[in-house]
């Protein structure tokens, strides 16, 4: 039951953010879908006891792959589909906790939270970059193998 609620809620949250950033109208549902995929992976992994940093990495990785496939299908920039999925992962809570601890004069605790937020941001970006490189490698090897196949076939 918890999972179903999270599924529905993450769709509306992502679509709402997508409206604020003014994505093209017809891609709105797909943006929401990317967000659902990303958040469900993050949620399940953290429920299973995985560290937040690792969960963010895997989630961002999958988001980037799905976004890349959509970008190819709709012939639109990839950034449109990434936005919605990434926003729930952004460590707003960690940054808030860091700020709050700093305000309350507990600098050590604040520094810990701040460092964690920084790590999560790094993990998200590494997930995006890895997925991009992987997709490029796959498509390039597919293209070259297709070309060699055609060459051999023609001869």
């Amino acid at each position: 039951m918890d999972y179903i609620i999270q599924l529905i809620v993450s769709f509306f949250a992502t679509a709402g953010i997508a409206i604020i950033f003014n994505v093209p109208r017809k891609t709105l549902i797909y943006c929401g879908f990317v967000g659902v995929v990303g958040w469900m992976i993050y949620f399940v992994l953290t429920e299973q006891g995985l560290d937040i940093v690792n969960a963010s990495f895997f989630s961002a990785f999958v988001i980037a792959i799905v976004a890349h496939l959509y970008a190819r299908r709709f012939k639109m920039p990839m950034i449109i589909f990434i936005v919605g999925g990434i926003i729930p992962l952004v460590p707003g809570g960690m940054a808030y906790n860091a700020m709050r601890n700093v305000v309350e004069d507990d600098y050590i605790q604040g520094l810990q939270y701040g460092l964690k937020a920084f790590l999560i941001t790094g993990a998200i970006v590494m997930g995006l970059v890895f997925a991009e490189v992987l997709i490029q490698l796959i498509f390039r090897s597919v293209r070259t193998s297709k070309a060699t196949f055609q060459k051999v076939y023609k001869k």
Binding site: I17, F21, M99, V103
Partner: protein
């Protein structure tokens, strides 16, 4: 000869307009350069050089051609414009339209405001904030307060953005509103957790897209624009954090 000069000027105009719209709508720097160079190549300008930062574009068509600069002062996130410019450049590079058509289309893209009406944006910000509260494991009793804080915060952001050109001031005020609504909800309403309400209603203001863009620019080797965008994201985050800190210290 004279005709050729005019032609080059027109090409530069068109390319700079495309780049300008993309940067103003919040595209990554390397994508802007890629688009402009592809468009230039489709017009047989093979020597084109382009240097793009978030605050300006320097562009030249070749050794003997004049270099032009355009400076950019305000940026928003408007993904629809990026998609439209992208489709124009796609059609131009596959020679489905001429440069003149592309220029006319870009002009109309720049003039049009593609944003939905304010009330729809505010409602979606409110809905998103409420949903984020549930995603971050908040209780349903705080749902309405999160919606209220998120919607009002975003409305204040839009209103002050119209009045002043200092972006960070509007973000500061918006998060001040969010923070005070959360504090009052818990003090005098029936809200339970200040932290959860604040975190979820601040989400529409958080510079998530800026941070990702900044690091993707850094990874692509555009260190200047990556740093500039990183600074912008940091200032935004700092404005939000400072405002929340102010409300919490009451």
């Amino acid at each position: 000869m004279v005709l050729r000069e005019v032609d080059n000027e027109f090409t530069i105009d068109c390319l700079l307009l495309a780049g300008r719209i993309m940067i103003e709508s919040g595209a990554e720097t390397y994508r802007v350069e890629d688009t402009m160079l592809r468009m230039a190549h489709s017009q047989n300008m093979l020597d084109a050089q382009c240097y793009t930062t978030p605050t300006g574009i320097i562009f030249s068509l070749g050794k003997t051609q004049p270099t032009r600069i355009t400076s950019i002062s305000n940026r928003v996130t408007d993904l629809q414009k990026i998609a439209l410019v992208n489709s124009v450049s796609r059609r131009l590079t596959s020679h489905m339209i001429t440069l003149e058509d592309a220029y006319d289309e870009l002009k109309s893209i720049q003039k049009t405001n593609y944003f939905l009406p304010t009330y729809i944006q505010v409602i979606s910000a409110a809905l998103a904030s409420g949903c984020f509260l549930i995603m971050f494991k908040g209780g349903w009793s705080d749902f309405l307060f999160a919606c209220l804080a998120g919607g009002l915060g975003f409305l204040v952001l839009l209103m002050i953005n119209d009045l002043t050109k200092v972006k960070f001031f509007s973000e500061f005020t918006a998060s001040l509103v969010v923070g005070s609504i959360a504090v009052f909800a818990v003090k005098y309403g029936h809200g339970t957790e200040i932290d959860k309400i604040v975190i979820s209603s601040v989400m529409p203001l958080v510079p998530g897209i800026l941070i990702t863009n900044a690091v993707r620019d850094l990874m692509a080797g555009h260190f200047m624009s990556g740093m500039a965008k990183g600074a912008e994201a940091f200032l935004t985050a700092f404005a939000i954090g400072a405002a929340i800190a102010v409300t919490l210290s009451f």
